[in-house]
Structure formats: structure tokens, C-alpha cells
Amino acid sequence: MAENYRKIPDQDLLAGLKSSGRERRDYEEILYKKYINLIWSRPRKYKLTEEEARQAYNDAIMGFLRQIDNEKFRGESSVYTYLKSIFIRKCIDIFRSGPTIDIYEESIEDNLHLPDSSVNLLKSLVSRDELENAMKLLAKLGEKCKELLLLSAEGFKMAEIAQMMGFKNPDSAYSNKHQCKKKLKELFKTSSSY
């Protein structure tokens, strides 16, 4: 199995990454493992530790997946070349600013497929504090609701969710998702931040 990761051509890898649910997760794993040696071939001039290089690699994979989701990767270069260029830039970022993850910026960047004006509107409506508060409220939602909403947010289809979580059918999963969203909204309304 291990060696098979390296034999998967770019075309198949990209098709898998554009799918959803379980298949997408499998291809994320293939992508991650296929190019993992980038961690050890990091540019020496930035003097990153292995742990820092590992974070740069994780950031690069996140960035690459975002480019796929936002349809910014045009296939003009190979996956390896493209990923390596992102990885080097992430190494430079960590060299300059240290290993930090900005959850707020990441969640905004997840929406860069929207026009600039919509991204700006989103930023003006939801502040950093409000996002952090929203994340805390998710924890109060209950395990089943949280899992259902997270699977849906990750792109799993209702049929898959129904099968994974033991709902009778996709409609039942959908109806539960709706209830969970309402419950989350009510939590916001009773939260002091709103």
C-alpha cells in the first residue's frame, strides 16, 4: 500500500480531491503521504526544526486543498511543483513569524471563491471574537448534533451521513441537520455576545 501512494498520477489524485465525503478524505491522505518527504528536503537556509517543517507541510497541504476547493489550481504545473512552491512559502512564513495558526484568517480564506466584496462583507459581519465564541458554542451543542453538522460542513452527502450515523434515510439525516442548526442558532441568541 505504502509504495502505491507514489504511483497515483496527478490526474487521478486531483479527481479524488474534487470528490466529497469518504472518497475525498482518502485522497487527502494519499496527497499527504505522497509528498511527505518535502519535510526532509526543506530549504536549509531557513533553519527550521523538524517540528516547524512539519507544520509548514501541514499548512501547505491545507493551502493546496483550499486552492482545489476554490478552483484556483489550474493544473499549469504538476501537483508536486505547485505543492513545493506553497511549502517553501510556508517555510518562509514560519522563519519570519514563527509557527502560528490563524483560525480566523483560515476560515475567511475558505470562502475566497466568493467575490471580494462578499468576503469583505463577511469579515465586517463576523469578527474574530464572534468566531471564537461560535466555536465555544459548538462544544455545547451535543456530540451527535456536532458530528452531523461537521460531516455536512466537510462535504459529506446526506446518504453517507445517514449510513455513518445510523439515520433511517437521507431525509431523516437532513431533517436532523436542520434541527441542529436551529439549536445552534438558539444557543447564539442566548449567548451574551449577541
Binding site: K33, P43, Y80, T81, N133
Partner: protein
């Protein structure tokens, strides 16, 4: 309140609303405080869910990293040195040397194309700082190249170079950005043509010329350039050149 608001927000964030629907949704959000009060928590919760998905994804990365170590996919050199006894290392080394001498050079040489793929990293222009206006075609070309958007970036960079507004030093630098973009978009002949005709031939330019030759499968032309970089101990490129030459 519209019961479908959750679906509308999902459609808005996934950009599947029509332009007219999106504009109407944003107009209401900006002008109607009651609507904003209802929608803002839903938007915040959608962003929070995405952030949580990202966080879970990072946790899976850590698991895959551990798996990769178990599967022997990665090459962490230090661990094996600690674990394997010296005698065993000696035996393995002797066996490897024997195998290397038996098969060298026919089976162990990397192809020039592989050497290119292993060593190429784009020569990026400086980043435009956040908030700084993109007020010239030159800055716009830089931004596009930084995004690896070569389809739009290359023609703009060609225009920048054709203009007569650059100092000699600036011209050399801009040509390097363009050559790197040519290489990364699989046009090594154009990169080579540009770099070989530069007015002044920097060591960075020689590194990218060597890579262009490797990309074309021409080891003989790449070799003298790599040897020069190695001999002059050019930072970074000299090290890479020595590594490439050492492997051949």
C-alpha cells in the same frame, strides 16, 4: 423568519446563488437590521463549523504523519541511527557499497528531468504588503506570479520587461521572475532563451539556466553551470548544485 434561511446562507457561502440573488441577499444584510440580526449567528456558526473541520483535518494530518513513519514512507534519518546497532550499520553499509559498485552507473543515475523536478523552486517577486495598492502593471504582474497564475501573469510580466522604465538592475531581476514562471509553466526553451540573452549573467540566472537544461533532458549543458555554482560556493544554489553533481 424564512425557514429556508439556513439553505440560503449555505448557498450564499458556497457561491451557488445567482448574481441577482446574491446581490439581494447582501443588500438585505446591509440595510435591514432585523435581517442582519437573524443571519449573523448563522454566518458565524457556518464559519465556526469550517474552522472546526480544519482543526479536525489537522488532527488527521498528525495521525497520517505517524502512519507514514510506520509505513516507512518518510526518511527521518536520525531515528534509525539511534536504534540500529553499529555492527548492523557496518554490515548494511558494506552490502550497500557492494550493490552500488555492482550496478553503478547504469541503474542509479537520476534522469535530468527528475533532477529538475526535485530541485526547482520558483523565484518569486517580493510580496505586496496587505493594504498597499496595486497601482502599476508591474505590481499586478508580481501578485499574479506569486499566486502561480501564469496564464495572466506571464503576459503582464512580458509587458513590464518590454517597457523602458526599468533600471538595468531591475530588468535583470524582473527577467528572473519571468524565466522562473516560464519554467514552472513547462516552457523551458523560453526560459533559456531569456536567461542566455540577459545583459549580465548572475549566478542565480546560471542556476535557472541549469534547471532549464535539466528540464529539457540536457545533462551535458547543465553540468558546467552546476560545477561553476559548486566551485564558487554560491549560498543555497552551490549546495544544491553539489548535491546534484554528487548524485551523478
Amino acid at each position: 423568519m424564512n425557514e429556508n434561511i439556513y439553505e440560503i446562507v449555505e448557498a450564499y457561502l458556497s457561491n451557488t446563488l445567482s448574481e441577482k440573488e446574491r446581490n439581494e441577499f447582501e443588500r438585505q444584510l446591509s440595510e435591514d437590521p432585523a435581517f442582519q440580526k437573524e443571519v449573523k449567528p448563522i454566518l458565524a456558526s457556518e464559519l465556526a463549523l469550517k474552522a472546526e473541520v480544519n482543526s479536525q483535518r489537522r488532527e488527521r494530518f498528525n495521525q497520517w504523519f505517524e502512519d507514514a513513519e510506520q509505513e516507512g514512507l518518510n526518511k527521518a534519518p536520525a531515528i534509525s541511527r539511534r536504534i540500529i546497532p553499529f555492527a548492523l550499520i557496518g554490515s548494511i553499509a558494506a552490502a550497500l557499497i557492494f550493490l552500488l559498485l555492482s550496478f553503478w552507473p547504469s541503474s542509479q543515475m537520476d534522469s535530468p528531468e527528475k533532477l529538475y523536478a526535485d530541485n526547482f523552486a520558483p523565484y518569486y517577486p517580493p510580496e505586496t504588503r496587505g493594504g498597499q495598492p496595486i497601482d502599476s502593471i508591474r505590481k499586478m504582474a508580481h501578485v499574479l506570479l506569486l499566486q502561480n497564475n501564469y496564464e495572466e501573469g506571464i503576459p503582464k510580466m512580458e509587458l513590464v520587461i518590454a517597457s523602458e522604465d526599468l533600471t538595468a538592475e531591475e530588468l535583470l531581476e524582473e527577467e528572473l521572475y519571468l524565466a522562473s514562471a516560464y519554467l514552472d509553466s513547462k516552457k523551458p526553451e523560453k526560459a533559456l532563451d531569456l536567461l542566455q540573452n540577459q545583459d549580465g549573467n548572475s549566478l542565480t540566472s546560471k542556476w535557472y539556466q541549469a534547471l532549464a537544461h535539466l528540464s529539457l533532458g540536457d545533462w551535458e549543458s547543465a553540468k558546467p553551470l552546476l560545477e561553476e555554482l559548486k566551485q564558487k560556493e554560491v549560498p543555497y544554489y552551490g549546495e544544491r548544485a553539489a548535491k546534484i553533481l554528487g548524485g551523478q
